[in-house]
């Protein structure tokens, strides 16, 4: 079977990371990988090269405006957008993990290979509406992530978190599969867009099995975006994972799950109007629950990573509000929000690495006074936290602004009020981090311990943090360019949503 250039073009963004991953696996066969720095360097270099190649190729595709496809894999604008999003997140993760794994003393090439395989799975997941391909993508990124959470085997709690994530994730995946099977059973096709049309044609839109099928699929998505009540894995998994991996999961998993949700429910299932409406009310209830629970639980965390985990849950709530509004402009807002969220969260988790916090010393206590010692990092932290809280003129504000504006515009004023109240609550726990960084002096004990330890050296993680801060600031001033030039075009040209 020979492939046409267009098919190669669709495949290439996935092939590059896959090849990179295979190469890294081969390299990591070398027993000396823990001792020989050049092997580690080569592995990281390969991973970065693969990601950069894929990134470059995707941007070229975007510039030409081509939307190639390889059977069910559609490398359309939305998929290209997702790809760029993923590659940036991955590159940041790779850079941060170089520093973090050296701090932990646990540098293994397999980690990188798993990460790259997960990226391939995510790209696949967000680029198709064919159920089997979708499921393939889901599993291809979930399985490596289960392993990545437990990757630092030296820490027992790491394995525990990985196991928890795996067990709950497996249940969610099987629910997702069951949902797809039901839709397939009723429509006779795995192509979800065709299935929706066929169901509509046969008047089966409100058939209970279809509803159950759609609901189960929704569950699968909501698990991945960690919406309440499918969120319990999140804090444990984040706490267990290495910081960069936690950041990657919070950004990439949530991002692709939202984009796939957009593709399937707002795109393919559009003909199933009634199901859409029913799902929308479910989403509305869950969005409220997510906002309330996520924010209130985040208030009482003493561990920064757990706080960030609950914050990421609450952000799923804001993004779900975009689905409640359900207008193209709201989806534009969701995509814009995801981009800023990428920078805010990768930056926030990157800070932990840049400050050289390892293992479980990630409490607010451990951060005291660090903002003054590392002014650039402190400044970035302020940018991330204020942006997460949605304070203008930072990028996070505009994400919320777009979503709330569409909520108000579609008559959901009550939900918008709830949303702003949720951000008010969230401001408190984001400020807590700034309080620790700037407003509290480190305890004498901590000072003494710090003077014993060697100085933290994390240039790569520091650089990624600065890059993220720049993105967040840029999001605040180039908001309309980003939203119209990228997010909106991805939606209109990729998904065919007409404004």
């Amino acid at each position: 079977m020979s492939l046409t250039p267009s098919q190669w073009a669709a495949l290439l963004p996935l092939l590059l990371p896959s090849f990179g991953a295979c190469l890294i696996v081969l390299m990591s066969l070398d027993k000396d990988q823990a001792t020989a720095k050049w092997i580690r360097g080569a592995m990281y270099g390969t991973a970065l090269l693969a990601v950069a190649g894929s990134f470059w190729y995707l941007t070229e595709l975007w510039k030409t405006g081509a939307q190639p496809s390889f059977f069910q894999l559609r490398m359309d604008r939305l998929a290209q957008f997702t790809g760029v999003f993923l590659m940036v997140a991955t590159a940041l993760t790779i850079l941060q993990s170089w520093d973090h794994f050296h701090q932990e003393g646990w540098v293994k090439g397999e980690t990188l290979a798993l990460l790259l395989f997960a990226v391939v799975g995510m790209q696949l997941f967000a680029s198709t509406t064919h159920f089997v391909t979708l499921f393939l993508g889901l599993e291809l990124f979930s399985l490596p992530l289960y392993a990545l959470v437990g990757t630092v085997r030296a820490r027992p709690e790491s394995a525990e978190g990985g196991m928890k994530y795996f067990l709950t994730g497996a249940v969610a995946s099987s629910c997702f599969l069951m949902g797809g099977v039901l839709i397939y059973g009723m429509s006779g096709t795995f192509d979800l867009a065709a299935a929706a049309t066929s169901l509509k044609g046969h008047g089966l839109v409100l058939d209970p099995l279809v509803l159950v099928g759609a609901a189960l699929m929704l569950l699968g998505f909501l698990f991945k975006v960690s919406a309440v009540p499918f969120h319990q894995w999140t804090p444990d998994a984040y706490e267990a994972s290495p910081h960069p991996i936690a950041g990657f999961m919070s950004v990439a998993t949530k991002g692709v799950a939202f984009i796939a949700l957009l593709r399937v429910f707002a795109g393919s299932f559009a003909p199933l109007g009634a199901v859409g409406v029913k799902m929308q009310s479910v989403v509305a209830v869950l969005a409220i629950a997510t906002l309330v629970l996520g924010n209130l639980t985040a208030l009482v965390q003493s561990n920064v990573k757990r706080m960030l985990a609950y914050s990421s849950i609450s952000h799923a709530g804001y993004l779900l509000l975009g689905f409640v509004a359900g207008t193209p402009a709201a989806y534009t807002g969701v995509l814009f929000y995801l981009v800023i969220y990428l920078a805010m969260n990768m930056g926030a988790f990157g800070l932990l690495t840049a400050f050289g916090l390892v293992g479980d010393q990630t409490t607010f206590e451990d951060l005291r006074g660090l903002g003054w010692k590392r002014p650039a990092m402190g400044f970035s932290a302020a940018v991330f936290m204020l942006s997460l809280a949605g304070i203008p003129p930072l990028g996070g504000f505009y994400g919320k602004y777009m979503i709330f504006r569409e909520l108000v515009g579609t008559g959901h004023v009550g939900m918008a009020i709830l949303g702003v109240l949720a951000s008010l609550v969230s401001a408190y726990y984001y400020l807590r981090l700034l309080v620790a960084l700037f407003l509290q002096a480190p305890s004498a004990e901590a000072e003494r311990l710090a003077s014993d330890r060697p100085a933290v050296h994390a240039p790569l993680a520091g650089a990624t943090v600065l890059v993220c801060a720049v993105i967040v600031l840029a999001g605040g001033f180039l908001q309309s360019g980003l939203a119209d030039g990228f997010a909106k075009r991805a939606l209109i040209e990729g998904l065919g949503l007409i404004r």
Partner: protein, 538 residues
């Protein structure tokens, strides 16, 4: 120079930010240099603002300088980058540019560390305040309004007193709570109006049912009232003031609180005239409560700074009472009182700061007989005290008199009673200020080893006198010839009130400014129609 000629306001607003970020980038060791550069920069901005704002004769409608350009359109709502200085904000802008360098100079040695960062934050705050004052687009206003919180939060939280973290968080969250709900109202209205142009929004608001208008007005009013702060939304203020470093207190009292009152006169009242008339009485009642309650609580304070903080509640109550009176003289009084309060209370906080820097205590009981040790300081304190209690020939008298006059003439069913009750606030003001003055400055010298008086070794130095002199000059000038400071706002205020009170047909349909409108006149005309000024009194 051409860019500067076209964008003088942009320069005024953003020059402090540029300088601020530059100072932040300076290494810690150069803190003293940063402080100096920050002061010189702020001073230059003050001089420029004086030259530009008083140098241009106002165009028809009172606009001195204006800039307008489309900025961006997001989710279908256009946002204009619209800035203007006109009769309503002219003097508040000058007050801001005046107080920032003055405060920097006045608190020169108050901070021991991180002076550079402090100066940088101060300049960022100046951008926020100036931006909010000159913004003519509600989205832009909202951005600056919120952005102001960030530097103030750090100023209180990092350099404040013992309870600084609590006070900073309370300040931040309290203010944020009001403005977030306001944001929803703003979005709702922008959605109806198709943009954030105040004129268009006012038009859209007038088409809404009265009940909805009422809710929108309340959302606006609560956000502004928190900033003022109006009773019962004032509880963040004493904490913030007491914990903030002197410079923070001065700017908080001097400018930040004014933005609340300014928000009413610029946006809330013109945009919802019917609702504003409807809710004027409850607001007046709350203002009277604030006046009396603030004064009574101030009377029993043992900390001088806290006393001044509560006196702010009382004084700002006067501002709100004047605005709620819906008369020209009352509103003009409120405009003047905002300036008065900025000068007098700013001066009081500076003086308290000077005392604290020497004695390291602010408790009234720790002092006594300060007049003997610091005669110059005492003189200045006396003048400012008299201004604060509204002695004739000082600024406080004129503002309060006009406000009380306006309230008396407001035509509320209880208006006269309100005026009488508010007058008791003036009286109480004299009581708490003079009683405090007596206990601190007069009497036998407190010889106790631990007392504050014991630690007072030096009177005001040249720098401190240089800071206080302009303030004293202004106090007298404003008391003797207030017209200088209220002439600009007379026409817009009169026009505004005439439009509000004019019975149907409602002519208060403001012309939306066309995007490509060439120059200032069209813009200013948009905001306040040039009706013949109908003076009721004065």
């Amino acid at each position: 120079m051409t860019w500067l000629n076209l964008h003088p306001l942009t320069f005024l607003v953003f020059a402090p930010t540029v300088l601020g970020f530059a100072l932040m980038a300076l290494p810690h060791k150069l803190g003293k240099l940063a402080r100096l550069l920050g002061f010189l920069g702020a001073l230059a901005i003050f001089v420029l603002s004086l030259a530009w704002l008083l140098g241009h004769s106002p165009a028809a409608g009172g606009t001195v300088l204006a800039e307008r350009a489309p900025w961006f359109t997001l989710v279908g709502l256009p946002v204009d980058y619209a800035l203007a200085v006109d009769g309503l904000n002219l003097w508040l802008v000058l007050l801001t540019t005046f107080l920032v360098p003055l405060t920097m100079l006045g608190t020169w040695n108050s901070l021991k560390d991180r002076m550079g960062t402090f100066a940088a934050l101060f300049l960022l705050l100046e951008t926020g305040m100036l931006g909010a004052l000159v913004a003519q687009d509600l989205f832009v206003f909202y951005l600056f309004w919120e952005a102001m919180l960030i530097p103030m939060y750090f100023m209180i939280g990092v350099w404040g007193g013992d309870e600084r973290r609590y006070a900073a968080n309370k300040f931040f969250l309290y203010t944020l709570s009001g403005s977030l709900l306001w944001l929803v109202a703003l979005l709702y209205l922008a959605n109806k109006a198709g943009g954030f142009n105040p004129a268009l929004m006012a038009q859209a608001a007038s088409a809404l049912p009265f009940g909805v208008q009422g809710w929108l007005f309340i959302a606006f009013a609560v956000a502004f009232a928190i900033k003022v702060p109006l009773f019962p939304l004032h509880t963040w203020l004493p904490d913030a003031h007491v914990q903030a470093p002197t410079a923070g207190s001065v700017i908080l009292a001097g400018v930040l609180l004014k933005l609340g009152g300014y928000g009413f006169i610029r946006f809330a009242i013109p945009m919802f005239p019917q609702a504003a008339m409807h809710y004027a009485k409850p607001i007046a009642l709350l203002s009277v409560i604030a006046i009396v309650y603030g004064a009574l609580v101030a009377m029993v304070q043992r900390d001088i700074k806290k006393l001044v903080a509560y006196s702010s509640v009382s004084h700002m109550g006067f501002v709100m009472l004047g605005l709620a009176s819906m008369t020209v003289i009352g509103t003009q009084g409120a405009m003047l009182q905002m300036l008065n309060h900025g000068i007098s209370t700013g001066a009081l906080f500076l003086l308290v700061g000077m005392l604290y820097d020497r004695a390291h205590t602010r408790m009234i009981a720790d002092f006594g007989g300060v007049a003997v040790k610091m005669p110059i300081f005492t003189t200045f304190f006396m003048i400012v005290t008299l201004s604060s209690i509204g002695l004739p020939l000082t600024n406080g008298f004129v503002g309060e008199f006009w406000i009380l006059n306006g309230t008396f003439l407001s035509g509320f069913s209880w208006g006269r009673l309100y005026a009488v009750l508010a007058t008791s606030g003036v009286l109480l003001g004299a009581v708490y200020m003079l009683w405090m003055f007596m206990r601190v400055f007069w009497g036998p010298e407190n010889k106790d080893e631990d007392s504050g008086t014991h630690h007072l070794h030096s009177d005001l130095n040249a720098r401190e006198i240089a800071v206080m002199l302009p303030l004293v000059v202004l106090i007298v000038w404003m008391g003797v010839h207030p017209k200088t400071f209220v002439a600009a706002s007379e026409t817009p205020v009169a026009a505004l009130l005439q439009e509000i009170k004019a019975p149907a047909p409602r002519t208060f349909v403001l012309k939306p400014a066309v995007h490509e409108a060439p120059a200032a006149p069209a813009e200013s005309g948009a905001h306040l129609p040039e009706a013949p000024a109908a003076h009721e009194v004065h």
